[in-house]
Symmetry: D2
Subunit: 146 residues, 4 copies
Amino acid sequence: MSETLPQALSLSETVAFLESAFPQMDAGGRTYHLVEVGPGLARMRMDHHTRHLRPGGTVSGPSMMALADYALYAAILATLGPVALAVTTSLSFNFLRRPGPAGLVAAARLLKLGRRLAVGEVHITTPDGDSLVCHATGTYAIPPER
Amino acid sequence: MSETLPQALSLSETVAFLESAFPQMDAGGRTYHLVEVGPGLARMRMDHHTRHLRPGGTVSGPSMMALADYALYAAILATLGPVALAVTTSLSFNFLRRPGPAGLVAAARLLKLGRRLAVGEVHITTPDGDSLVCHATGTYAIPPER
Amino acid sequence: MSETLPQALSLSETVAFLESAFPQMDAGGRTYHLVEVGPGLARMRMDHHTRHLRPGGTVSGPSMMALADYALYAAILATLGPVALAVTTSLSFNFLRRPGPAGLVAAARLLKLGRRLAVGEVHITTPDGDSLVCHATGTYAIPPER
Amino acid sequence: MSETLPQALSLSETVAFLESAFPQMDAGGRTYHLVEVGPGLARMRMDHHTRHLRPGGTVSGPSMMALADYALYAAILATLGPVALAVTTSLSFNFLRRPGPAGLVAAARLLKLGRRLAVGEVHITTPDGDSLVCHATGTYAIPPER
């Protein structure tokens, strides 16, 4: 982002809103942990869990896709506040390397935050940050009534 | 697809392979049902289930993304047979309308089936086929050893 | 599209608008020809021309991308009329087969036409329609003031 | 990229190869200038030129798409050398801000360089780097015979 972005919610406020709004993300045991937010930024960890695995012990594509979407949503939420119930309008993923059966970390940042549309990208890496396993971009419609 | 595609597996053979290879897709209760395969084609139904929902009663994006990936994989599998353990390399989604809290149907068809890469698209509709809720495209690497 | 779409402009009206609004598309000689429009639909032909070629005699990616964008824009224009100066917000392309040094045809259709966002897909084929060389999806922001 | 990438060509060698292989990129006057390459990296400038403009004075989408594709190709070429005639298999673009009628700079970097597939992303900014106008990702098939 070129322009300076605001930050509407602290980390604990963002976590509290996500937990109340998306309780089903933790169905089957909590695995998504928001660990950092900033203006236009969010970092989310996904713990290792058998429900995120595919045969061969790799993390499933849908688990990575859910992580990317959730992290981007958190970045928008932290930046704009809970008044903005953004709606995902598109998501694109490149799956780069098969991760092993371990947790992953998603670093989301907004590339644009317009009045009507937010666009962001996500880099999903192994927890040590050494291996990039997935790159995603997403667009979100911002409701006009905010 | 312009060229004529083969069909390696029948519907019941494709279902049997998917069930043995991806048992975790039905964790929490079976909701994905492959209902049709053909050369370069697959149709899959996802039942209504609380774990697929988002607040407001709409089906979650990750559930639709998993459905699209699974349906495309089934189309490749039915066309090439189980020797081809295709790997998802990219997926792109446009979310078009919020579906209500009901099942969905994914119609997957291959746009290209090369020696090394398969490309396909998916239209996800309400069960009556009246409303297109998501469009997806995906690319899959075909292992060289087949 | 599930819902019934209107049609605001005839073929000749759409052509006239495109020619006045995008004269630079034909810089170097006219090669883009809109041949059909309908509610949510447009079909555009791109003639064979040396400026569209890549080494080896294939049509260049940028020429196909311009064709897809132009055809989708024409579909929105024919459907909504010239009041809607839609802005391209995203485009995604899968290049499926290398076309030979000949013209191409793009068939664009809208998947969604909302108040604020239009989403469409394009199939680019050889002129005989036998070979699908590129698939594209695009999203366009519709100005609020219409 | 996590792993260490090689660099096969210097900047002048990469420029020389691009000029001989893609002379048509400069049809109408040279506007694309490769200004930097490194392992998995390339930076390319596109000069302001009337043929890159759209009504209203903004740079056209197709011109930005050509720039992104060309910069990613240069990054692969500099990294792997001219033996690798990579073929674009997919490109995705998010158009973030309308650039004014001026040049643009594309910074391309590879996210993955596998034996068969290269994946990269491009950030296109105004020449001062202050405003991000387009983000792109692309995948390229690497010929098996290298």
